[in-house]
């Protein structure tokens, strides 16, 4: 196994753990944690490909990762603000109980 494949596999496992958490946990905050894990797995791939793979310019992979980190921060802020707003309204963060849109 090449080092790149190792990092890719690590990222894949991390991504799937995040995905499973987002799909199965009831608590909205853990769902957000799962999404963060998925984003981080993608970032790891960017850096791994930048280091080991072919790239057009020396800084491309780094740029991708930096912007992804910045956007992930924005995503976390808005997501957690939504969780807090939902909690204010429904007095719960349990995703299964927030089912008004199901009609």
């Amino acid at each position: 196994m090449t080092p790149l494949a190792g990092y890719l596999l690590l990222a894949a496992v991390l991504f799937c753990i995040g995905l499973a958490a987002a799909l199965t946990r009831r608590n909205a905050i853990v769902v957000l944690i799962g999404i963060e894990l998925m984003l981080n797995a993608a970032n790891l791939n960017f850096i791994a490909f930048w280091q080991f793979g072919a790239h057009p310019a020396p800084v491309t992979g780094i740029m991708f990762a930096l912007f992804a980190i910045g956007i992930a921060a924005a995503e976390a802020a808005v997501g957690l603000a939504l969780v807090i707003a939902v909690y204010r309204h429904y007095r719960t963060t349990n995703m299964d109980e927030i089912n008004e849109l199901q009609g």
């Binding site: 080092p3 799937c16 946990r25 905050i29 990762a65 910045g70 957690l80």
Partner: protein, 166 residues
């Protein structure tokens, strides 16, 4: 060839990630996910991306983990829930996760892109990153800045108390 430091880091990250999604207490989840963030920062350093590593540490451990902590405490998540942690259809989620992983692992095995010939390691100085941010990627930088500002204001407005300061 997989080296020892990589294995240690991978173990740290994966244990942290599993703990982050399996722990009962939400604060423990957040602390575990902070461990994952630190582990990933170390992985970036190992990959030679110093700047990204420290930025990851600064933003994820310093900002996102703290944000998660605040969200947990503001929604009274510090208390251990009595009921089940997982949704009723949790086995579907696990199945989907496993299926995605199988697909990804197959792709990594198959794809020639994942097994490149060993190349000379790239080195990027902070100056290069700064120059790129100010020249080639300046539009992206501006857009990200705008997005962050919008997110900041949006988050404040969403989380603001309804009958609050008006």
């Amino acid at each position: 060839m997989v080296t020892g430091p990589f294995l240690i880091l991978a173990a740290l990250i994966l244990v942290g990630a599993v703990a982050a999604v399996r722990m009962r207490n939400l604060v423990h989840c957040v602390l575990a996910v902070a461990v994952v963030f630190v582990g990933l920062a170390a992985a970036y350093l190992q990959l030679g991306a110093q700047f990204v590593g420290w930025a990851q540490m600064l933003i994820y451990v310093g900002a996102v983990a703290i944000l998660l902590v605040f969200a947990v405490l503001l929604t009274r998540g510090g208390e251990v829930p009595e009921r089940a942690l997982f949704s009723p259809g949790w086995h579907w989620g696990v199945t989907i996760g496993a299926a995605v992983f199988a697909l990804l692992a197959w792709a990594i095995r198959q794809s020639p892109a994942a097994h490149p010939p060993p190349a000379a390691p790239v080195q990027v100085t902070v100056e290069q990153i700064g120059t790129a941010l100010m020249t080639h990627d300046v539009l992206a930088l501006e857009v990200t800045g705008l997005l962050l500002t919008a997110a900041l204001i949006g988050a404040v407005i969403i989380a603001m108390n309804d009958g609050g300061p008006q």
